[in-house]
Assembly symmetry: C2
């Protein structure tokens, strides 16, 4: 008897059974710690399975159990700014459960989205996580009638679904309160387009913290806008701000660079806070940016566990879940610590 498996190809449970001198049923039960048998038999089968390098075929298993231990992550975020940390969280949370993740980047192409969804469904994914780059926009594909659970992250979900997003208001509060606490009084807010839900949330929190009179400048999500806004402020009349709260790190970077060029010191003269904590931007700015982190990885982790729960039929409360942000302090604000 050939221990390397009789028939050509991968080695199956039949090979293990033959090598151990038991039936495949006993082998299966031995390996899965189910059924009844002597401890010796179980141990022997397990040992032999290890020796011959048996690897159960998930296709066969899935066919029977109707669980593929596979989920799909659908995204239209081209730069991966959101997707990558999210994906890392999802994967990290699910790998322990033996679940692998299909990543499907569908630009903004409905047809491509449809194809990917179709492919995933044929492959019997246990669930799908739909992720985008803004919370007030839908993916260009209808996920409402799918035979598998769908969880939304950073994108607008169907009514009755589970949606995850960061708590923009709380994050903005964190930033502005920090500026206030280190003694800043004239804080302006340079941010993105006001048709973004997140932008309005953050601006709202900004106003709530500083009370009444604040200045919010809406623009684009680009360094150039940070640049332009600072130029506009400092070339104008009147008292200058002593702090800037920016809608994202790119704007913040543009602002910081422009201040430096104007000879205005950051953080001595002006404190700057960013949003996103995008390492590649925040960490490379001179000085490195204090920024609000949206905890995307944690968000991914929770989205992963949620879709898994749904897949297993466990009850999950529908609705929008907002996760708290965290302030990452670097050197663009000055101030030592919240307790001075």
């Amino acid at each position: 008897m050939n221990i390397a498996g009789g028939k050509r190809g991968r080695i199956t449970i039949h090979d293990v059974a033959a090598a151990a001198g038991v039936s495949i049923s006993t082998t299966s039960k031995a390996l899965n710690d189910t059924g009844r048998m002597s401890v010796e038999t179980r141990a022997r089968v397990k040992r032999i399975a290890g020796e011959v390098g048996f690897r159960p075929n998930a296709l066969a298993r899935g066919l029977l159990s109707k669980r593929s231990f596979t989920i799909g992550l659908l995204t239209n975020d081209t730069y991966g700014r959101f997707t990558l940390p999210l994906m890392a969280g999802v994967s990290e949370a699910l790998v322990d459960h033996g679940v692998s993740v299909f990543l499907c980047a569908i630009e903004d192409d409905p047809a491509l989205g449809q194809i990917h969804v179709e492919a995933m469904l044929e492959k019997q994914v246990d669930g799908i996580i739909a992720s985008g780059k803004r919370v007030d926009g839908q993916l260009p594909v209808d996920l409402s009638k799918l035979p598998v659970p769908v969880v939304y992250a950073f994108t607008e979900g169907e009514p009755g679904s589970v949606t995850f997003r960061s708590d923009d208001a709380q994050g903005a509060r964190l930033a502005v309160e920090w500026l206030v606490r280190i003694g800043r009084r004239r804080i302006v807010h340079i941010t993105g387009p006001d048709d973004f839900f997140s932008v309005r949330e953050r601006a709202g929190a900004y106003h709530a913290v500083i009370g009444g009179e604040g200045v919010v400048m809406y623009g684009r999500w680009a360094e150039a806008w940070g640049h332009e806004a600072v130029e506009r402020i400092w070339s104008g009349e009147g008292e200058k701000p002593d702090a800037i709260f920016c809608g994202n790190d790119q704007i913040a970077r543009g602002a910081v660079d422009t201040l430096r060029e104007r000879g205005i010191r950051v953080p001595e003269d002006v404190s700057v806070v960013g949003f996103d904590n995008w390492e590649i931007v925040a960490g490379q700015t001179r000085p490195p940016l204090t920024s609000v982190d949206m905890e995307l990885k944690e968000l991914g982790r929770q989205a992963g566990l949620t879709v898994l729960a749904l897949a297993e039929g466990r009850p999950v409360e529908p609705g929008v879940r907002t996760l708290p942000c965290r302030l990452v302090v670097r050197q663009s604000c000055g101030g030592k610590s919240p307790i001075e």
Copy 2:
């Protein structure tokens, strides 16, 4: 007869067969355009399959055909700098063939890598693409004894395997030749650590183009290094360069920012070329960077097609394949066009 599928759960080929009043064999043959039957029967079965929303179970299909139409992309590139474009290419090339991609980010953790590989093999992936962030380094997991084909991209492969990487020398040549063509003569090269294969390749090409006396400054892959290097050059004695070829876009950005701060105009006084064409850096620099694009997406596409070919048993020539780079002209060099 219930047209929505008799037994509970997803609708199977049995349901289609019943609805069409034929056997499942006939149904299968009708849908796959195999076997013999009247055109009417075939058309009717197809129509009904569409009507009831039949979706073949890829698990069952894969069990039989020993093809899962699934591949794995293994990467240790945390920032996704390389992974994302690569993934986009792989996915784009394979979606047409019905293949979906598992993305597995294994930081630099051998245990995690092992777990992911194991999970993918159980799921019967048809092949694996291993990708890294430097061509002279291996992933922290042994892929040499796998029962499925492995293709390497931007990472060191086993002898006898297929490996894809960009043509660093050609890319560097493109950059330096461009600078020469627009009239620059005193070109320095500010780049990364010289223990990177790519760094040495590019420096070699730089020397080859400008002939003999060139200045190469090795450092870190960071903006701060670009900054520091420019400071060092311009605060020193002697004639200043009229062009800088940088090892990546971050270094280039640091250099451009520092030049601007020193009142040196880019591109009028000094031309700067980057490497990577990382949109988020190159596009946001003032002025936007001319940069060498490594065509990662195309590289991903070819890697995907290659692993597919191997999975299907088609012959593939082993060895290292280098893909040409492309120069993306923005505004950091001046000069109108190659033909002046």
